[in-house]
Symmetry: C2
Subunit: 407 residues, 2 copies
């Protein structure tokens, strides 16, 4: 079995975290000076392992095993959110480097291991910019129009990096698949006492804005029974959701009411209008449909009961995407080879592997996030879990290469 050097792995992760370090966290948004410096360092490390390494005009770094026609692609992204954590996608990037190094150390194989760090998964400019360019799904107009939160233009930021060269795209027919590792960014693994998660699919997202219209009566002079309070059906829907959506959804369905607003928003005026944003997620399209139908039906019923006008706008409909069953099975088997039992779980968040999954077999492995925290300097994972995750991923890659060899 391919062996991962745990000390080297942790040292490499710490070396990468030095680029943009802020206390225990890392500030390395895509195309920042620290991001580009980190990517140059990564490219040098990949080259040192013996990979044919390129960085493209966006900053995506790809290290390819020379002399092979087919390969397994391993990696993630090394950009971070502002004031993010030290692991996130960096974990999967260093896993790719470590696995390529370990496989190269074993000598030539018929199937190679390529390592990658995609650009801007976090969407400082365009979410999953590098992964989308890699699969040919990025439109030039998106690049031209993109701005960051400060209003800076992406074309200007790209020019400022001094990088050049065509976007790296996946060489036709080369990849058996893409395997990504990432921190879970949630609390389930630790809550269920597991050290490895294997992602069954990426949850689809439905996001809807519910707008209600009532009447702005004086809250001191209007008896309760004569009001048309626009907040009532929204509050009732929120309370209904706890049981109603649980009943309509599946075991892994999640939902969130992240924002609510009442107008005019004065203590002494009955709310004349309300707005609430409801988000629904599940990996099963049928369950998503059921959740949406239940929410819409309940909202309409409650608004009708309260004689309040209701408008529902579905603003987002992202379909669920399944991971590849063969790769997923290899990740599960590799976890068993390492003495652990994987937790099969959906990914509630998007990742580079979600983009690649529409174009090649792709799978995603999770290691635990302490306290479920991510995108913050407190983000962390037990070093033993970090090393185990790399070992499991290396074993899965090894199994894939062996399987290919006997096919």
């Amino acid at each position: 079995m391919i062996e991962i050097d745990g000390d080297r792995l942790l040292a490499d992760l710490r070396a990468l975290a030095a680029f943009g370090r802020r206390g225990t966290g890392v500030h390395r948004p895509a195309l920042s000076t620290d991001d580009i410096a980190a990517r140059r360092w990564l490219a040098a490390e990949m080259a040192a392992v013996g990979l044919d390494t390129r960085m493209d005009g966006y900053g995506t770094v790809l290290g390819m095993t020379p002399g092979v026609r087919r390969a397994v692609l391993v990696g993630s992204h090394s950009d971070t959110v502002p004031n993010g954590g030290w692991l996130d996608g960096a974990l999967g990037v260093i896993y790719g480097l470590a696995i390529a190094r370990a496989v190269r150390a074993r000598g030539a194989l018929p199937v190679g291991v390529d390592a990658v760090s995609f650009q801007d998964e976090e969407g400082t400019w365009v979410p999953c910019l590098g992964a989308r360019a890699f699969v040919g799904a990025l439109r030039p107009a998106e690049i031209a129009a993109a701005r960051d939160a400060t209003g800076a233009r992406l074309p200007d930021a790209l020019a400022a990096t001094g990088l050049a060269g065509e976007p790296i795209t996946a060489p036709q027919g080369r990849y058996l698949g893409f395997v990504e590792a990432h921190i879970e960014q949630g609390p389930r693994l630790l809550a269920e006492g597991r050290r490895i998660g294997v992602v069954t699919g990426f949850a689809g997202i439905r996001r809807m804005t519910l707008r209600t219209t009532g009447r702005p009566d004086h809250a001191g002079t209007t008896p309760m029974n004569l009001r048309l309070d626009a907040s009532r059906p929204l509050f009732r829907l929120a309370v209904w959701a706890a049981e109603g959506l649980a009943a309509a959804g599946g075991a892994h369905s999640v939902w969130n009411i992240g924002a609510v607003k009442l107008l005019p928003g004065a203590a002494n005026v009955v709310p004349a209008a309300g707005e609430m944003i409801l988000e629904l997620r599940d990996t099963d399209p049928a369950v998503l449909d059921a959740l949406e139908a239940a929410a819409v039906s309940a909202a309409k019923r409650l608004a009708r009961e309260d004689s309040i006008d209701l408008d529902i706008e579905v603003t987002t409909r992202l379909p669920p995407i399944a991971t590849d069953p063969v790769l997923r099975a290899e990740l599960e088997a590799a976890t068993g080879d390492c003495g652990e039992t994987a937790l099969l779980m959906p990914s509630g968040a998007g990742h580079d592997s979600m983009i690649l999954a529409a174009h090649m077999p792709a799978a995603l492995l999770f290691v635990p996030s302490i306290g479920g925290r991510s995108h913050t300097p407190e983000e962390d994972t037990d070093p033993a879990d970090i090393i185990l995750g790399a070992q499991v991923l290396a074993r899965a890659v090894e199994r894939l290469c062996q399987q290919k060899a006997v096919r």
Copy 2:
């Protein structure tokens, strides 16, 4: 019985509405050019009726019956909210003028009728500025510090009017009481088929801000049962209130949740913090206490059940103020004398008579508001109801004067 000239009453109301007219509404905030012009017109009308008339440095206009030691004070305020309606306090001011005129036409009485328009009841600068100055309850520091919504300073605005003179204060021992008429600003009279409301008292107000603290988890990756959603106890409290506050309160208790906010306010982040403003009103202090205790107890229980931190800040505690029982009885009797039955009801809003009630007998009469609307250009009252209200108030004043005469 004193007779009110209905045509003249309506003509005077329309003449007053011409100052600051905007379509069907009126824009006449305190100390605006239109407000001062309207007050000069009022002073001239009062003088024409034979009243000793003064306007003070704030713009409060008082017309006093000459040659009497005691009088009934009748009036309200002629300033409006921005883009308000044509009646509101102007109704009660013109009632005062009309009643003084009718009484003067009948010849001298031992008890006079004084007419008044207090300044800035609507609080463009200081709510009930004129009424508070009249009873000696306005502190100079409030004048010095007051600004309007644009940031203009009250002392500058006062200087710009060119008005001078000491604030008018109530002459010691002169007033049997103050009777005010106002539009209801709510829908109860029309809903209950009554044309006259007699106010039993002004509701006290408790206003509290409820702040909850949870944890900002990723709404895609955090299972429902592992969240600390700061919105939950707030939403549950809002739904509880509909039955819980009804059970804790009295027949006329009202409450309102006019504002709610969730932080960070993103669709995909579990609310980490929430804020909700709850207002409670009742004319009975014991009922107010019961409402507050019930709301606080429910909020604490719900927050505890949801494992969410809760902080409750009571930001406003205005005590209820009763109207004078003798004046109230005269208003009821006068309504009967005019062939109607008064609806005894609380006032959910504050008025000049609420300020005066702490210093002399005071009472308040309501006429219906069509659709319950006020503070908007659509504000209106059936002309027959406008005339009836004046007739009832005139009759009440007559009864008071007679009663005093026989005392």
